[in-house]
């Protein structure tokens, strides 16, 4: 059999695709799309279903399995100094077959193309797993798929044509120090199992995640994302950025370490909430002593009644099914009016600790977080803030003391010192170190009355899906340490 990689389109780097004027950075005049080597999604779906049936027949009721598919057809264009830095296309489809028998499980991954070759690779994977499974130790908490769920969700978008991307994006920012990445295309998630559950999720989407810098090194951040390219919105954002850049050009103010009243814009709040999927909302993490919410679960601690958050799968196009084909409820409240309602419980955790699962994924991480809005008028945040810090973004957060919910990180991008409701100057960036039991507890002034969907733009391994729907928030006495 030919090497598998021959059936995949490799990333084509800028050097291969473009006629460049210089060896370093070139404005792209031409984008050459690679030929499609993965079949259209409908053929891939048909082939995926046929493979699931073939595996089911081969197992003959003697073993259980799950079969998942993760695929993308993506365009990436990276910018630096308002020029194209790197670009490429990725077509990739990876199937994972997990075989379960006699309290043992193992998985095997193989690429899919939507052609007859897929079935051959799937049968090879099944054979390998059947050979290996008896050698593995028993997993007493193995969960077998048992449900009868089925779903089919397709989101059709309207994306920029690949060849138009550099022109559309750079035409508005040619005079600015613009840097960032445009990612777009189709994303797909498939699921099938031995219980007969079937799920299919496909969406078109894009994101443009960018920063614009002043000559002094100050910068602002912007993101635009969705299923339909919104040129008017992009123009509005760049116009607003030009106003912000003038403010950023003022001499920065150096603040001494200390406690400051602070407004966190939605993007900064979203950064804070990213910590909740890492030793926060996971029931297994709590049971193993690693959750920041342990003081709440054990009693005695609560957060401000102004804080409510949980999963809301209506807020963005994200699959509700998990690795076992289970479909999460449309909403999963986690903290309600400052009280811990529940943590995310996966089926394996439920089996191990005698609990009821709530549709969480295996890692018990947030997939569609929504923070409830508050009562602070969004257009009056500076007035309500009064004197303090306006923080647009945060950077590189980590736990400095997880049992007490203490987080450290840096301010980043357009952050300002505000006096009496007026922006005075950008700041030199500060390190913070503060407990969520303080900033979401007694020091929480409130949330704004409007929410913003902060899209997930990560591309580790593949383009991510989803985002965080959050308002901004004002906090009193937030601690900055360096």
């Amino acid at each position: 059999m030919a090497p598998l990689w021959q059936y995949l389109t490799k990333l084509r780097c800028l050097e291969e695709m473009l006629k460049m004027d210089t060896a370093d950075v070139a404005v792209m005049n031409q984008v050459i799309e690679p030929p499609k080597v993965i079949s259209p999604w409908n053929q891939l779906e048909e082939q995926f279903g046929q493979i699931a049936e073939a595996i089911n027949s081969a197992c003959a009721g003697q073993a259980q399995f799950t079969l998942t598919l993760l695929a993308e057809d993506s365009q990436f264009v990276r910018f630096n100094q308002a020029k194209v830095r790197q670009t490429g296309f990725v077509q990739d489809a990876v199937a994972r077959l997990t075989l379960m028998q006699a309290d043992r499980s193992a998985y095997w991954e193989f690429p899919m193309t939507g052609t007859g070759l897929d079935r051959e690779m799937a049968m090879t994977a099944l054979h390998q797993l059947q050979q290996e499974l008896p050698q593995l130790p028993i997993n007493p908490y193995l969960v077998i798929p048992t449900g009868g769920a089925k779903s089919h969700e397709t989101h059709i978008g309207q994306l920029l044509s690949p060849e138009s991307v550099p022109g559309v994006i750079l035409s508005l920012v040619a005079d600015l120090d613009f840097t960032g990445i445009y990612s777009a295309g189709q994303l797909l998630r498939g699921y099938a199992d031995s219980a007969g559950q079937r799920h299919w999720f496909a969406t078109d989407n894009y994101s443009l995640d960018y920063s614009i810098f002043t000559d002094q090194g100050q910068a602002l951040k912007g993101t635009i994302a969705g299923k339909v390219w919104d040129d008017a919105q992009y123009q509005r954002q760049i116009q607003a950025a030009r106003v912000q850049l003038k403010r950023l050009s003022m001499a920065p103010k150096k603040l001494p370490r200390g406690q400051y009243r602070t407004y966190f814009a939605p993007a900064a709040v979203a950064e804070i909430t990213s910590m909740l999927s890492w030793g926060g909302v996971s029931e297994a993490s709590y049971r193993q002593g690693g959750s920041c919410f342990a003081p709440m679960r054990r009693g005695g601690r609560r957060l401000s009644e102004k804080l409510s958050f949980g999963e809301n799968f209506a807020q963005s196009a994200v699959p509700r099914f998990n690795e076992l084909g289970e479909v999460a409820p449309p909403k999963v409240p986690i903290v309600t009016a400052g009280e811990l309602t529940q943590l995310l419980v996966a089926s394996a955790t439920a089996k191990e600790y005698g609990l009821t699962a709530n549709g969480a994924n295996g890692d018990e991480t947030l997939r569609a977080l929504e923070i409830a809005p508050g009562e602070i008028p969004t257009d009056e945040v500076l007035r309500v803030l009064g004197t303090g810090l306006y923080v647009a973004n945060l950077h590189y957060l980590n736990w400095s003391d997880r049992p007490t919910g203490r987080i450290t990180g840096m301010t980043r991008y357009a952050c300002f010192w505000v006096e009496d409701g007026q922006i005075v100057a950008p700041i030199e960036h500060l390190r913070f170190d503060e407990s969520l039991y303080r900033f979401w507890g007694e020091n929480l002034v409130g949330f704004t009355d409007e929410q913003v969907l902060v899209p997930e733009v990560g591309t580790y391994g593949h383009r991510a899906i989803g985002g965080v729907l959050t308002p901004g928030m004002i906090v009193d006495k937030f601690t900055y340490t360096l």
């Binding site: 090194g217 980590n398 840096m410």
Partner: protein, 237 residues
């Protein structure tokens, strides 16, 4: 020391960060192009090598993903910055010396400037000799939390285990030892280095960088190191 070397020496010396490629994601660098050859990065005890040729370290290879042959090079010698972490492309773009470090995490990502094995070279003191020179201090082991700003300047790290050093001896265990500082000042405070007996090889498989994102394996070796005037603090504060 693994993450201290990684975050406060490795990343700021990446030439693509200095060129601005990473400003929208991982960040830039406090290091400027004119700093190579003259910036005093740390104390004279500080010697940092880039060495993919070491057998058995996490990121060992004979050539990088652009085909450039791997060689052992000093990036920082006796505290002075000499060379950057830049592939042949970045070297050409910036006009400074680099190393064979153009690496991609997989077939679907382009090679970018990456650390490989980035090591702090050992000194001459034994473990006991170093401890005996400290009247009052904290001995820290096993990093468990790391954070640094986007120009690799202001950092904060915490460790899983620590003990007080009192009158030249290790004494009581301390809970959740944290420390913070600013990169050049911190490395300027390097006052002692363990010999080869204390040099240990570590690394991480998940160094994240690039747009589209890439996670890659890097190796870091270090001896025991003593730093003066470090701001140390504890658990809930």
């Amino acid at each position: 020391m693994l993450l201290q070397i990684h975050e406060s020496v490795g990343h700021p010396l990446e030439l693509d960060r200095i060129l601005g490629d990473e400003r929208n994601y991982a960040g830039g660098s406090f290091v400027q192009p004119q700093d190579f050859g003259q910036l005093v990065y740390g104390s004279p005890l500080m010697n940092i090598t880039f060495d993919p040729t070491i057998q058995g370290e996490f990121a060992s290879y004979a050539f990088d993903d652009t085909g450039a042959p791997a060689t052992r090079e000093y990036l920082i010698k006796e505290g002075v910055l000499h060379r950057g972490l830049g592939s042949i492309e970045s070297q050409e773009r910036l006009g400074v010396k680099g190393v064979a470090c153009g690496r991609a995490c997989s077939w679907n990502r382009p090679p970018i400037d990456r650390m490989a094995n980035l090591n702090l070279e050992p000194g001459t003191s034994s473990f006991d000799e170093l401890i005996s020179t400290i009247e009052r201090g904290v001995y820290m082991e096993s990093n468990r939390s790391w954070s640094i700003d986007d120009r690799r300047h202001k950092f904060q790290f915490s460790c899983e285990y620590g003990r007080l050093i009192e009158d030249g001896k290790l004494t009581r265990t301390v809970r959740n030892p944290n420390y913070r500082g600013i990169t050049p000042q911190f490395w300027a405070g390097l006052t002692g280095l363990g010999n080869g007996d204390s040099w240990q090889m570590y690394g991480t498989p998940t160094c994240g960088k690039g747009e589209p994102n890439q996670a890659i394996t890097v190796g870091h070796g270090s001896p025991m190191a003593v730093f003066d005037q470090v701001e140390v603090f504890g658990g809930d504060a």
